[in-house]
Symmetry: C2
Subunit: 146 residues, 2 copies
C-alpha cells in the first residue's frame, strides 16, 4: 500500500533546510508524528557524509538505540543520493518521500541519483519511494541556497 505523503511533514523538512540555509532538509516520521529533523551539515561539520538524510537516520537510531527504523518514513527535500538511499535501506525505513530531483541543477547529480531506483530493487525490503512531492517548494530551496 503506498504511503500517503503528508504536506505538514515535508513542510518541516523544508523549514529545517531554510533554518540552516541549505537546500537539503530531512524528517523521519511515524504516521504524522515527527521524530527527528536534520539539515545538510557537510560544511559546518567538516563531514562529507553529513547529508540531511544520513544525519536524520543517525540521530533517530541513536535516540532509539537501535539500527532498525522499520515503521518510519523519510521525508527529504531532494532525491537522496546513493549514499543516503543505501543508508535508508540499511535502516529499513518503510518509505521515502522526496521533493525535487537534484538533476534539475546538475546533469552529473541526475546520473548518480538515478541509481536510487535501481538499488531499490535489491533493497532488504521494498522501500516505497515517492518523488515530486511539493516539488516547486523544494526546487526553490535549490535555487536559493545552491
Amino acid at each position: 500500500m503506498p504511503i500517503k505523503p503528508d504536506l505538514k511533514l515535508m513542510q518541516a523538512a523544508i523549514d529545517v533546510a531554510v533554518l540552516n540555509k541549505t537546500p537539503f532538509g530531512a524528517v523521519l516520521a511515524m504516521g504524522d508524528e515527527i521524530f527527528v529533523t536534520a539539515a545538510n551539515q557537510t560544511k559546518s561539520l567538516s563531514d562529507p557524509t553529513a547529508h540531511a538524510e544520513l544525519l536524520a537516520i543517525r540521530k533517530l537510531a541513536g535516540h532509539l538505540q537501535k539500527t532498525d527504523l522499520s515503521g518510519f518514513t523519510l521525508y527529504t527535500t531532494c532525491e537522496p543520493c546513493p549514499m543516503c538511499m543505501s543508508a535508508a535501506i540499511w535502516a529499513k525505513v518503510d518509505g521515502i518521500i522526496y521533493g525535487c530531483s537534484i538533476g534539475a541543477i546538475s546533469e552529473f547529480m541526475d546520473q548518480i541519483n538515478v541509481r536510487s531506483e535501481y538499488m531499490n530493487k535489491f533493497a532488504l525490503k521494498q522501500v516505497k519511494i515517492t518523488g515530486g512531492f511539493m516539488e516547486n517548494e523544494c526546487y526553490n530551496l535549490l535555487r536559493w541556497y545552491s
Copy 2:
C-alpha cells in the same frame, strides 16, 4: 596510474577488524602512512550507517577539518556497499583497495554491491578501485565474525 596496494596498510585494516571482532575494517592512508583506522560499529553505536569505511571518512575529515580527502587511499577488508562507495566518492578519495567481496556470503549483498562499479563511472573524479587484495585473509574475517 594504478595505486600499488600495500600489504602493511591492508594488514592494519584487518587488525582493526579483529580487534573489534567484526569482518569489516578500514584504513585511510596517504602514501604508506596510516592516518585513521576504523571498524564496523553499527551495533555498538546503534547506528546503521556506522560501517568501517564511513567511520574512517568521517574521522579523517573531522581531524583535517575539511570534506575533501583527495590524496588519500581507502583500504577496506570488504568491497564497499553503495553507501560507503558513495561516501568515498563524495570525499574524493584517490582510490579504494578492498579485500574480499561480500558476495561470498550473501547473494543479496553481491547484488547490492555490484552497483559500486557502475556508480564509479559517474564519480566526481575517477576513483581507482582494486579488489581481491589479501582476499583470503579478508575472507577469513567474514568466516570468523559473521
